[in-house]
Amino acid sequence: MRVELIISGFGGQGVLFAGNLIALSAMREGYQVTYLPVYGPEMRGGTCNCTVIISENEIASPLISSPSFLIIMNYPSFVKFVPALKKGGTAIINSDLIKSEEIKNLDILKKKYKLYFVPVTSLAESLNTPLLANLCVVGAFYEITKIFNKKNFKKALKEMLSNTKAHLFEPNLKAFELGANYIKNNYK
């Protein structure tokens, strides 16, 4: 088992938090993981991405040229990373910012890849927590891959929301469930 994941979006969408959370959940599940945030003078509103590798074996290179899994939160990321996706790879796409009818060659892409269109931004807004689109997408990732179980996810979330952020645990968990349910109801 090996997943090579790139999560990409605007700075401020919680892309790095989502990557860190997925890596930590997979580590609690017993996998080897690496989490490499893009690294430079990033800012809110600019583009931002991170690479997460989850594997049963030792991970040598933390850098990958073509991911097997993509989480795409905005249009520039779609343009940049979808062409790099491995054949047969999977992508979760934020359908609030990337409309499927606007994508050229959608039929070809659908033949090559497994695509999941999830309106994560509006899902998060429906909970009155627009900043939690990243947790919705982690929920979708969980439901599609089932790489880690919910118990380990909760452990990881608790670790990341320690001390002053502890009160955010419940809203985060809600957004996670909403994302997972969206996949369950629309794709399964």
Binding site: L36, Y39, S61, P62, L63, S65
Partner: protein, 360 residues
């Protein structure tokens, strides 16, 4: 009790390693990409009865380390390339005074202010030129978080064993990447400091540690003493060796580049190419003897390929180690052109086919 497992950045691993070794003082000045070290030390050291102090400059920080070490306290600093350059004068004094300081350099691109991308451009500075005079750091180059933790702790032991400064040479990729880290108990030996540390001359004659020797005889002896020490350090050489006797190409890489190179080598090997992988962990002393052993044991003529995140520095030490008995090829990657494993694989394959070497 089971050791705690955390998801930690490479630089946090360095800080945890120092705490595990009982480091009591951290002095530093902020610089990207190593700020999580002072952040963690600021939080943890006071809890353990230690001292954290953000100095007014790198120069001040390293001289505070000098002072703490002189009185026999385990102390360290960390910085990144431009900050390390500012400390070089004090490094020379620390080596001359034979003080067991630990310094972490989380390398970024240079020269000058350079950039904040990962680089291995300070290899020469770390192993050959970290100040004036005839001295060396002992240089340790981890390649993942676990190793960064264990080597940093070990650095305090080596520093005391040889009474010499030890440098942890990491880089922005290793530093910023998060990986599983097991915070296991480590056995770090403590060496007797009672015969040199400046602890107050009550009930004993006073002692002075100094670096000024105006008598030429004395200065010569001091230099020879240091040289002897560096020779002795060879006993503590560390390296990772994944080479078979049948291999025709041996890839030599350290730090983050070793991660990428290892992937490339193991992929090529899976496809049947005679490619081995060798990773120096101590960069000074350089693992010369193990490399000579590889040449002796090889069943075929060998080529050494040295990829680095710079324009070719460690390749010179590989050439010295090989001593003309095999060809040595440099694969330079200056900052911000970090190769993917597949790209490196192609380059290594080119080295395989650039002579009569064929697929096994």
């Amino acid at each position: 009790m089971k050791a705690k497992k955390v998801l930690a950045k490479g630089i946090e691993a360095i800080a945890f390693g120092a705490l595990e070794a009982g480091c009591k003082c951290y002095f530093g000045y902020p610089i990207t990409p190593q700020n999580e070290i002072p952040e963690l030390m600021a939080r943890e050291l006071p809890k353990r009865g230690g001292v954290f102090l953000q100095a007014e400059s790198e120069l001040a920080a390293i001289n505070m380390v000098l002072g703490a070490c002189a009185v026999g306290v385990r102390a360290m600093t960390s910085s990144s390339s431009p900050g390390i350059s500012l400390m070089c004068e004090a490094f020379s004094y620390i080596a001359a005074l034979e003080l067991p300081a630990v310094v972490a350099n989380v390398m970024r691109g240079g020269p000058g202010l350079g950039g904040i991308e990962a680089s291995q451009g300070d290899y020469f500075q770390a192993v050959k030129g970290s100040g004036h005079g005839d001295f060396h750091f002992m240089v340790l180059a981890p390649h993942n978080a676990q190793e960064a933790y264990e080597l940093t702790a070990k650095a305090f032991e080596f520093a005391e064993k040889y009474r010499n400064p030890v440098m942890i040479l990491s880089d922005a990729i290793l530093g910023q990447m998060k990986e599983p880290l097991i915070l296991k108990k480590l056995r770090i030996k403590e060496y007797n400091k009672n015969d040199w540390a400046l602890t107050g001359a009550k009930n004993r004659p006073s002692r002075i540690i100094r670096s000024l020797f105006l008598s030429s005889q004395e200065l010569k002896e001091r230099n020879l003493k240091l040289a002897k020490k560096y020779k002795k350090m060879k006993k503590d050489i560390i390296y990772e060796n994944l080479v078979n006797d049948e291999d025709r190409v041996i890839v030599v890489a350290f730090g983050s580049m070793a991660r990428i190179a290892k992937d490339a080598c193991l992929n090529l090997r899976k496809k049947g190419y005679p490619v081995g992988f060798f990773r120096p962990v101590t960069l000074f002393p350089f693992p010369v003897k193990p490399i000579q052993e590889l040449i002796k044991k090889a069943k075929n003529p060998l080529k050494f390929v040295v990829p680095e995140l710079n324009c070719g520095q460690m390749v010179e030490d590989v050439k010295l180690a090989v001593n003309g008995e095999a060809s040595v090829i440099s694969l330079p990657y200056p900052p911000s052109v970090i190769p993917f494993p597949e790209e490196l694989e192609k380059e290594i394959k080119k080295c395989l086919s650039s002579s009569s070497f064929q697929k096994a």
